[in-house]
Symmetry: C2
Subunit: 217 residues, 2 copies
C-alpha cells in the first residue's frame, strides 16, 4: 500500500470519502452539496472553501479513486528486461497476474466498491474535464496491457491485441458497472463474496488464456 498524496488528507479526505460514494451512485448532478455537507458534518461553505467548486470536488474524488485502484502491474512487467516472452509458462503467469490485479482492485474488499464504480462512471460520461484523468490512468494501463499481449503473441496484430485488452477490461468492468443488474440476475443483495470472486477470476483467466491459445500443459 503506497502513501496517499498530501492533497488527500484531513477535511479534504473526509469530504472526498463522503461525497465519493454519493457521486458513484448518482452522478455529479444527482447529489447536492447540501447532502454532502450534511452527511459529512461540515458547513456547506466548506466544500467551496476546500475545493473551490462542486465540480472540483468531483474531479478530486475521481483522481483519488483512480490513484487508489490503479493497476500498474503491466507497466512494471514491461520494465523487467529478464522476462522471456517466448515461453508459454511465463506468458500464462503474467496474464494470470494481470487479471488477478484487476479483480482484486476493482471487485474485492481491498477497496470500497464505490472506488471502481466512480472510476468507471467517468468512462461512460466523460465531460471534457474528466478526460485528463482518464488520459493519465486508463490509457497508459491499456497501452501497457496491449504491449504485453503483443509480446506474448507476436503473431497477432496490434488491432487484435487491442481487442484482447478490451476483453480483459470489459469482462471485469462489467461486474462493476452492471453490479445492480447482475445481483438482480443472480438473486443476491449483499456484496460479491470472496468465493464468487475467486470463481470469477478463474473463469476470466481460463477464458482469456484459451482464447489466446495459451492453454496450460
Amino acid at each position: 500500500m503506497t502513501e496517499l498524496r498530501a492533497e488527500w488528507t484531513g477535511k479534504r479526505l473526509e469530504l472526498i470519502e463522503t461525497a465519493g460514494p454519493l457521486f458513484a451512485n448518482s452522478g455529479i448532478d444527482g447529489v447536492s452539496i447540501r447532502e454532502i455537507a450534511e452527511k459529512s458534518n461540515v458547513n456547506i461553505a466548506s466544500i467551496n472553501y476546500y475545493f473551490g467548486s462542486k465540480e472540483n470536488l468531483y474531479i478530486e474524488a475521481l483522481r483519488y479513486v483512480a490513484w487508489q485502484v490503479r493497476c500498474p502491474l503491466a507497466q512494471k512487467i514491461l520494465q523487467d528486461k529478464d522476462i522471456d516472452y517466448s515461453t508459454k509458462k511465463h506468458c500464462i503467469s503474467i496474464i494470470k497476474k494481470l487479471i488477478e490485479e484487476r479483480v482484486q482492485n476493482y471487485l474485492s474488499d481491498k477497496y470500497p466498491m464505490w472506488y471502481s464504480r466512480l472510476l468507471l462512471r467517468s468512462l461512460i460520461e466523460p465531460p471534457a474535464k474528466f478526460e485528463n484523468v482518464l488520459f493519465h490512468t486508463f490509457i497508459p494501463e491499456f497501452n501497457a496491457l496491449v504491449e504485453i499481449l503483443m509480446k506474448c503473441n507476436p503473431r497477432n496484430t496490434i488491432e487484435k491485441c487491442k481487442f484482447w485488452a478490451f476483453s480483459i477490461l470489459g469482462e471485469i468492468s462489467f461486474y462493476v458497472f452492471a453490479e445492480p443488474g447482475i445481483k438482480l440476475a443472480i438473486n443476491i443483495t449483499e456484496k460479491y463474496t470472496q468465493e464468487f470472486l475467486s470463481q470469477l477470476q478463474k473463469h476470466i483467466t481460463s477464458l482469456i488464456l484459451k482464447g489466446l491459445d495459451l492453454r496450460e500443459g
Copy 2:
C-alpha cells in the same frame, strides 16, 4: 421490424426521441425539462401534459429503447423443439447468432447508439422504479441465454453458465458504456465503423466458442 406501441407515437414519440439521447449522455439529473422542451420545439408544460412528470418521461424513454433493442432470439430458440444440442455444429451456430444479435442491436447503426447507452445506464443506476424495466427485459434474456448455454454444455453447472452468459453480455456491453474511453484509447472520434464491428463480432465469437470448447472443425 415490429410495430411500435401506440404509446410511442406523435408528440410523445417526438419528446422521447429528443430527450432520450440527452438522458443517455447526462443522466436524468443532467438534463432539464427546459432543455428538452427547447430542443423539441414544444412548451415546457407539454412534458408534464404528455408524461405527467420528468421522471415518467425518463422511464418511458427507457421502456422505449428496451423494447427497441431487445434481443429475444434466445427465447425463440428455446421454443424450437427440433434443435439437437448434442451436435457441436448446431451449438456453434446458435451461439454465433446470439452474439451477432447483440452486436447488431447494441452497436451497429441498426439503432441509434443512445438506445443501448440509455438501456445500459439503467444497469449502473437503477432507482427502484427502473428495476421493473430491467426485470422484464434484461433478466428474461439473461435466463434464456443461461438455459441455452446449459443445453450446449450439459456438463457445466448453472453457476458456470451464468459466468458464460455474463461474459457474452459484458464483452459487448463494454463497447457501449465505455464508448468514450474506448474511442480515446484507439484514437477515433467518429462512431464505430462496420468493419470494426465485424472484427469485434469475430473476436467475441471466437473467444466465447474457444472458452466453451466449441472450436469449429
